[in-house]
């Protein structure tokens, strides 16, 4: 077993080309923000019924994935699995980058993004949103410290462990907070459930691990560094377990609702009558993002194919995205029940299934957040010693 040596990425045309591509996406998103700020949200697909749209789906996805991307580092530092330790730096960097990307989308979709300083100086501590602002900034700080303890010379092991533990606990609280944004909404039938917090944590495990696998496989491929098959398979197996857990929690969420007559309306909407939302739920979230990748990754031979691991990770990401879409948009599409037992109608879409068509602007803004996250990750790897020279099985001792 060689010593693990961390090296900056070399300046290759591939790296710079990829960064330039990401730059185009980021610039486009910037232009969109200026456009929306000038014209108002009227140019987006959002309205007074669907108040949170595609940008929020992207933002929540990135923020949840961010906390999950820290998985590998946690397993290494907190649970002491030696094989995972060489990937801890990348895991932490990716976590911070995804969070920053998600936050950027969230902030830039505000009605008054120019009032960021107001948001940072006026706090209502009863609001879970306020706590999330603090949890996000705290997460960046704690993970930064954690990375520093890993990368600086002469830092004692217990300090690394303590920082890793702090980051691990913090990310659990962070995702609890994100889930509670929905879990504590008493007004809407689709939310208002305690299971939201743990559901979000499990969701973060799955999409965070999938994101990490994709980024690691992508960057090792792009730079020609080794990524051992054994190690990859271990991570893929872990991903499969996370998907299983996610599907279990999703099942419980809907079973619980189905047991209570008052939730039949919203459940039948999501599970049976919701059109696009039903399609997304069964087709993308359950089948494409759950059953299919689980089948591949638990399979004794298929689960070892690099190409299929990439495919499965992509499917998990698609499924997770669909899950958040169904939750956020589908939850708003179902009408508020202000008058139970009555058929209602009004000029303000009472009693009506709300329609939502995301505009191109929202898509560009969301993709800009993804591009920003990836750009930060790559620039981080380019200039800091994040990625080991080799993640080959012999090197990291993954068989241990």
């Amino acid at each position: 077993m060689e010593r693990i040596i961390y090296r900056e990425l070399k300046s290759t045309p591939q790296i710079w080309g990829f960064l330039a591509l990401l730059g185009v996406f980021i610039a486009a998103a910037g232009a969109v923000v200026l456009y929306i700020e000038h014209h108002g949200h009227i140019v987006t697909g959002m309205d007074n019924q669907i108040v949170w749209g595609l940008p929020h789906v992207f933002a929540i996805f990135l923020i949840v994935a961010a906390s999950g991307a820290l998985n590998v580092a946690s397993i290494g530092s907190v649970f002491g699995k030696v094989a995972y330790k060489p990937m801890a730096r990348l895991s932490a960097l990716l976590a911070v980058a995804l969070l920053v990307g998600g936050l950027a989308v969230l902030v830039l979709d505000l009605g008054r993004p120019d009032r960021l300083i107001v948001a940072m100086t006026n706090f209502n501590f009863i609001s879970i949103f306020t706590w999330n602002i603090l949890l996000y900034t705290g997460f960046v700080a704690i993970v930064a410290v954690y990375m520093f303890t890993q990368m600086a010379r002469g830092v004692p092991t217990y300090a690394v462990k303590t920082a890793g533990l702090a980051a691990f606990l913090w990310r659990l609280i962070l995702t609890t907070g994100t889930g509670s944004i929905f879990g504590w909404l008493v007004a809407r039938q689709a939310y208002d459930a305690a299971i939201m917090a743990p559901l979000f944590i499990v969701l973060s495990f799955a999409i965070g691990m999938a994101s990490f696998l994709l980024v690691t496989m992508g960057i090792t491929h792009l730079t020609g560094r080794a990524f051992g098959a054994e190690l990859r398979t271990r991570l893929a197996r872990l991903l499969a377990i996370f998907i299983a857990a996610l599907m279990f929690f999703t099942t419980m969420q809907h079973l619980t609702n189905l047991y209570a007559a008052e939730h039949w309306g919203v459940e039948s909407f999501i599970l049976r009558d919701g059109g696009i939302y039903t399609t997304l739920f069964w087709g993308v979230q359950v089948l494409v993002g759950g059953v299919l990748p689980m089948g591949i990754l638990f399979h004794p031979t298929l689960g070892k194919e690099a190409g299929l691991v990439v495919l499965s990770s992509l499917l998990v990401i698609a499924g997770g995205f669909a899950q958040i879409y169904v939750l956020v948009i589908g939850g708003q599409a179902y009408p508020l029940e202000i008058f139970p037992g009555y058929e209602v109608s009004s000029s303000f879409a009472d009693g009506v299934i709300n329609s939502y068509t995301p505009s191109m602007l929202e898509l560009i803004l969301g993709l800009g957040g993804v591009a920003l996250a990836l750009a930060i990750t790559i620039i981080g790897m380019k200039f800091l010693r994040i990625l080991p020279n080799s993640l080959s099985d012999a090197n990291v001792g993954s068989k241990v």
Partner: protein, 253 residues
């Protein structure tokens, strides 16, 4: 009560005259002093080819290297990430803040200055964090403390004073910036106009004057000096082209 007089006064306050004089003096010393230093740098011979390797092999490459050095602080980044972080925060913040101050020197504010103006507020925080980081480094890191001279501290404290007093005027104790702008537009037209007698403003402007005066004899000359570092501005072409200093050339002929 605001110390700005309620009625326009006859004649001009002696403080305004003093500050006007100081600004003329400081500008003259800054321009002439720095110009003389730059002339000295430009004339100083570079007897040997000593670019830090790997060095660019063409003139264009040298421009690109210098650009990276000045805009990104590349070599500092390579040698010390922490100093780079704080140094960059400070310098970039100061750039934005300086650009923001252009509004005091043109009657009609240029459009791009109008765009930058609000960001200057955030930049002031970056400046403060950067300066604080650099000061803490001087005090905390043993090696650095040992080699730090009073002038090193002076520069940091002076810049912190300027930043701090500027932020004071933005966030705490407002100043009549219309009068301030009138004062500076006046100076540019050789008129001496009224200057608001706000203590924070006077401290701010006084520190700036002091900084301008000592700039040509301070370590801040690393600003223009960077362009004259032979390790950065030379082409790696000693095989292709023999390097002879002008005075040496004379001897050879």
């Amino acid at each position: 009560m605001s110390s700005v007089p309620d009625s326009p006064k006859e004649g001009i306050d002696v403080t305004a005259v003093l500050y006007a004089f100081l600004f003329y003096l400081a500008t003259l010393l800054l321009v002439v002093g720095t110009g003389m230093k730059i002339r000295r740098y430009a004339k100083a011979p570079a007897p040997l080819k000593i670019p830090t390797m790997p060095a660019p092999r063409s003139q264009g490459g040298v421009y690109f290297r210098m650009f990276r050095e000045v805009v990104l602080f590349e070599s500092l980044f390579k040698s010390n990430k922490w100093i780079w972080l704080f140094g960059y925060l400070f310098h970039f913040g100061m750039l934005v803040v300086l650009l923001r101050h252009i509004r005091y020197f043109t009657f009609d504010v240029w459009w791009w200055v109008q765009i930058i103006q609000p960001f200057g507020v955030y930049a002031s925080f970056a400046m403060t964090i950067g300066l604080a980081g650099l000061l803490v480094r001087r005090i905390v890191v043993n090696r650095i403390r040992y080699i730090s001279s009073p002038s090193d501290y002076l520069m940091l404290i002076l810049l912190m004073g300027i930043t701090g007093s500027g932020m004071m005027m933005k966030f705490v104790n407002h100043t009549d910036i219309i009068m301030v702008k009138g004062f500076f537009l006046g100076l540019m037209r050789f008129q001496i106009n009224e200057l608001p007698m706000s203590p924070v403003l006077l401290v701010h402007l006084g520190s700036v004057v002091f900084l301008m005066i000592i700039f040509p004899i301070s370590k801040l000359l690393h600003g223009p000096g960077i362009f004259f570092s032979p390790t950065r501005n030379q082409i790696d072409n000693s095989r292709e082209k023999r390097h002879i200093v002008p005075w040496a050339k004379k001897l050879e002929e």
